[in-house]
């Protein structure tokens, strides 16, 4: 089997698995977060929603560690935001996996392409903090 066919086979087997796993994890966190908010902090949700509608809901962006710690301590907002962050990690995880595969196969053009995409995704997180 040549290198391209080998790459294709691994990508077609593992990419769907990776996409599905992260998607299910994010969905479960979001569903749990909404149910938890409904039970523990429904008034908080409604007040936040009204602030969002009025365009006055400001909250500083949190990093991943803060969100995990917040979720573990039962903060509903952290739980929901963590679910959304995990969801946005779907493409990041998929591109990182592809990069590892291309490095393994020493496919230089595609290493460069996927490394650029991965760097751009990470840069996106920094760009949001600047702009």
């Amino acid at each position: 089997m040549d290198a391209k066919a080998d790459e294709e086979k691994i990508l077609r087997t593992w990419t769907p698995f990776l996409l599905r796993t992260i998607l299910i994890a994010a969905t479960l966190i979001l569903i749990f977060g909404l149910i938890y908010t409904g039970i523990r902090e429904p008034a908080y949700y409604v007040s936040r929603y009204r602030l969002v509608q009025g365009g006055t809901a400001t909250r500083p962006a949190e990093d991943f560690i803060e969100l995990v710690n917040g979720s573990l301590s039962g903060d509903a907002h952290s739980m929901l935001t963590l679910g959304l962050l995990v969801l946005t990690l779907v493409p990041l995880g998929r591109v990182a996996f592809t990069l590892i595969l291309f490095i393994r196969e020493r496919d230089v053009v595609y290493i460069a392409a996927t490394a650029y995409v991965l760097t751009a995704l990470i840069a996106g997180m920094m760009l949001g903090r600047i702009g």
Partner: protein, 275 residues
């Protein structure tokens, strides 16, 4: 709280369902639904939409990748262009005022309506041009008789330029911009239509993901809105894509063109009033 979550979820299911049936994706419908019906500010609607687009792309891509419809190499190369555009668009979304974004959204809907009526590309090419050959972008697909046929790929630079445009639209307006991506691949790069659609769907996740990361890190994603919307759009899109083969596609296409034009007029009027 239950009323708000149920209302957002229902809107999102509807948008995801119509997005899947029309082939335009849930983002095109959820942004106006949130702005016009739920009275959510444009930037918050775009942030919520981008996250739901990531979810629907991931959900739909699973089967396409597994069954071999996605051209993974074309996707990897063109994603360089789409993420560049998406980061630019998402950054600009934080600079432009809401009425400007709403006017651009209205124009994008009219462009989507035009693309929905446009014909498809010419027949396949059997051999790639030298650049695409060097990058090994060609692939195989199945024809109407179930036979495996090879196809070549051409005009990568034109495709890449259109992908930057698609990326800017995605990051700026919270959509997948699948119509532009499919046009670039089907019409200019001469990929088979089904391969173009599957590859576009796969790339949309990374494009919208780049934009969503900018919105999230800027603090522009309201979890109270985005959480039920992401779940609803995904549920609606999965239902819509399952029902699609059993519905009259030509009549639906005409109906969606009318719907797109009506929403574009409403968004355009709202933007004009706010300018």
């Amino acid at each position: 709280m239950l009323t708000i979550v149920a209302a957002l979820f229902t809107l999102a299911v509807g948008a995801g369902f119509v997005g899947a049936l029309s082939g335009l994706g849930g983002g095109v419908f959820i942004v106006p639904a949130l702005v016009l019906l739920a009275h959510i500010p444009m930037n918050v609607a775009v942030g919520a939409s981008l996250i739901s687009v990531v979810a629907t792309s991931a959900g739909a891509s699973v089967a396409f990748v597994r069954d071999g419809w996605t051209n993974l190499r074309v996707a990897m190369i063109l994603e360089c262009a789409t993420v560049t555009g998406a980061l630019t668009g998402a950054y600009l979304a934080g600079v432009f005022s809401a009425p400007v974004l709403e006017m651009l959204f209205a124009l994008m809907m009219l462009q989507s309506a035009y693309f929905s009526l446009r014909g498809h590309g010419e027949s396949l090419v059997s051999k790639s041009d030298p650049l695409c050959e060097r990058l090994q972008l060609g692939g195989t697909t199945t024809d109407e008789h179930g036979r495996t046929v090879g196809y070549g790929v051409t005009h990568l630079p034109i495709g890449a330029v259109l992908m930057v445009v698609a990326g800017v639209m995605s990051g700026l307006l919270g959509i997948g911009a699948g119509a532009v991506k499919v046009t670039a691949m089907d019409y200019f790069m001469r990929l088979p239509l089904k391969v173009s659609s599957a590859t576009s769907n796969f790339m949309i996740g990374v494009t919208a993901g780049a934009g969503a990361l900018v919105f999230l890190s800027r603090g522009d994603v309201a979890a109270t809105v985005a959480a039920p919307v992401a779940l609803g759009v995904t549920a609606g899109a999965l239902t819509g894509s399952r029902m699609l083969p059993h519905l009259p596609s030509e009549a639906l296409r005409k109906l969606f063109v009318v719907l797109l034009i009506l929403i574009a007029i409403e968004m355009g009027w709202r933007a004009y009033s706010g300018l």
